[in-house]
């Protein structure tokens, strides 16, 4: 039915409704602004603390026999090497089993099996890291590692690395599986139609097509491993003081566990103001590293961007 006289007023919303929609808009915007503001505050706090540290520390103290912040010895190499060693062990554990699980779930598993296994895998992701840390010192080291390496320390980097690896498996498996399942079925059919077995199709067609996703999974996993705190604090020890050594059987503090130890804030730490400031410096370092990792990951992912 056509109205006789249509004016703009007929198409106007009521004032109350307009106010309500404006209010909701501002609320949402406020919520978004809070997250940005908090991020900015964190960066500012960490950066200014790090600057205090770097501008006051004697640079010779940054390379020494080890990490003894209360004595004013801030050997960064010790922490960086320990972090790298533990993360590499973690990846050596997590990448093969994560990819393996992803390939099994995506390419081989019967749907019924997948329905059970995928949630189980994700259950592993919800194990608190403190539990895995305790698992490392109560099981991995005493029940497994001591059988192979008699001279192993109770707190050691190897067990810490393995436990971090266990923590990262579900993350890598889950992202990888999504990447594999995103490969179009048409490519698998094309391969099968040419007489390829499932394993050949997986390796020669699905793997390259999902490469960017698998790289992303690896980088996210590495980033998670290097940032993991609780497992290494418990299992590797050495957060408060740590002598430089390369042995995986010895204890050793990492960037994160050193920060945790500093953050616990005993009087001695507070007494030596530079020791406390080093916490922020380590934080800035860690932040920069994960940022670079994520950016590298982004570049790789974009370069290998799926062309299907």
């Amino acid at each position: 039915m056509t109205p006789d006289h249509l004016t703009a007023a007929d198409l106007q919303t009521s004032l109350g409704r307009r106010i309500r929609s404006q209010t909701v808009r501002w609320l949402f915007m406020g919520a978004a602004a809070v997250t940005v503001l908090v991020s900015a505050l964190i960066i500012w706090t960490v950066a200014s603390g790090a600057w205090t540290f770097i501008s006051q520390v004697e640079f010779t103290r940054l390379t020494d026999i080890g990490w003894f912040p209360r004595r004013g010895l801030f050997d960064l190499t010790t922490l960086l090497v320990n972090s790298a060693q533990i993360s590499v062990i973690a990846m050596a554990v997590a990448v093969p089993s994560g990819f393996g699980a992803a390939f099994y779930l995506s390419e081989y598993a019967h749907p019924r099996v997948r329905r059970v296994m995928k949630p189980t895998l994700e259950l592993l992701a919800s194990v608190p890291s403190v539990v895995l840390g305790v698992f490392a010192i109560s099981f991995i080291t005493p029940s497994i590692l001591t059988n192979f390496f008699s001279e192993i320390n109770f707190f050691n980097k190897l067990a810490a690395g393995i436990a971090v690896g266990l923590l990262v498996i579900p993350l890598i498996a889950s992202i990888s599986e999504d990447a594999l399942r995103a490969v179009p079925q048409a490519l698998r059919e094309a391969s099968a139609g040419l007489g390829a077995r499932r394993v050949t199709t997986s390796i020669r067609v699905v793997l390259p097509a999902a490469m960017s996703g698998l790289m992303a999974a690896t980088i996210v996993g590495f980033s998670r491993a290097i940032g993991e705190t609780m497992v290494v604090t418990i299992a590797s020890g050495g957060g408060d003081t740590s002598l430089y050594n390369l042995s995986l059987f010895e204890s050793g503090g990492t960037l994160t566990s050193a920060m945790a130890a500093l953050g616990l804030g005993t009087d001695q730490v507070a007494g030596n103001n530079l020791a406390f400031q080093s916490l922020f410096f380590l934080g800035a370092l860690l932040f920069a590293m994960t940022l670079v990792l994520n950016m590298v990951g982004d570049v790789i992912v974009r370069r290998l961007q799926n062309r299907y």
Binding site: H110, P111, P184, A186, L187, R188, E189, A190, S191, A192, G193, L194, G195, A196, R197, T200, R204, V205, P208, A209, N306, R307, Y308
Partner: protein, 313 residues
Amino acid sequence: MNPEKALMTQEPDARASDVSDAPDATASDVPATAATGVHARIDVSGVVSGQRPEAGTVFECAEVDVYYGDFRALRDVSLDVAEHGVTALIGPSGCGKSTFLRCFNRMNDLIEGARVEGTVNYYGVDLYQDEVDPVEVRRRVGMVFQKPNPFPKSIYDNIAYGPRLAGVKRSALDDVVEGSLTRAALWDEVKDRLKMSAYGLSGGQQQRLCIARAIAVQPDVVLMDEPCSALDPIATGRIEELIAELKTEYTIIIVTHNMQQAARISDMTAFFSVQANEMGHRTGELVEYAPTSLIFTNPDDPRTEAYITGRVG
């Protein structure tokens, strides 16, 4: 080679010896092919043909049923497919013609819950007996899909994929690639960019690439599942010309929605229809199978006539 034994071989080498002989033949054939336009069959199956039970028949299907889970998608299809011809499967959507096509190379195995009953004999060997390895079947019965599905690899690697699986030597690959692309009428268009991604090709070129990829493994049969449905009329025309040339060398079974296409390119036509039962489940069945000229001029079944004259479907 006894075909029955060959299908059951688990060793890739057994088949590789077949194929690795071929590149020499291809190499010597290519110049002649290019010059005369005559596509000679590269006969690697000469030994096999001596033992074929009934000369000229590739497939004998008897009472084929296909189920997806409990649901019967196709009922009681029996037909024979002749060698070196084009057999078209036509019919309305959901009539099971694609499902039936995928029985010829056990492609339905890839679909979870799919089950085939009845017999599909390939040169006298039942493809669905336990001993038969579907992978070996698919090396002899190739497939081209509805949507062009090149691998995200170079043009060269797309063609070389199958021959590499079959164990063709690196030194012979160049000839196989050139020969296959030539026979798929794509060589001249891509010979200067073989190392470039197949995704840079147009839809029609991609589909010809997929055909070249399928024939690179020297199959006996090429199955085509609506190969032109994603293409424009010009690209369709090129594929149809190609099919006409390929049928001198290969047995082709093609599913098409386009009745004119079936009439233009096929020798035999099978018309499928679909029936809904009281539960609303739609089951496909074969209505009529006859020479194409007969189907389109003087069909036996009134349902065929209704469909091809456009009154139904």
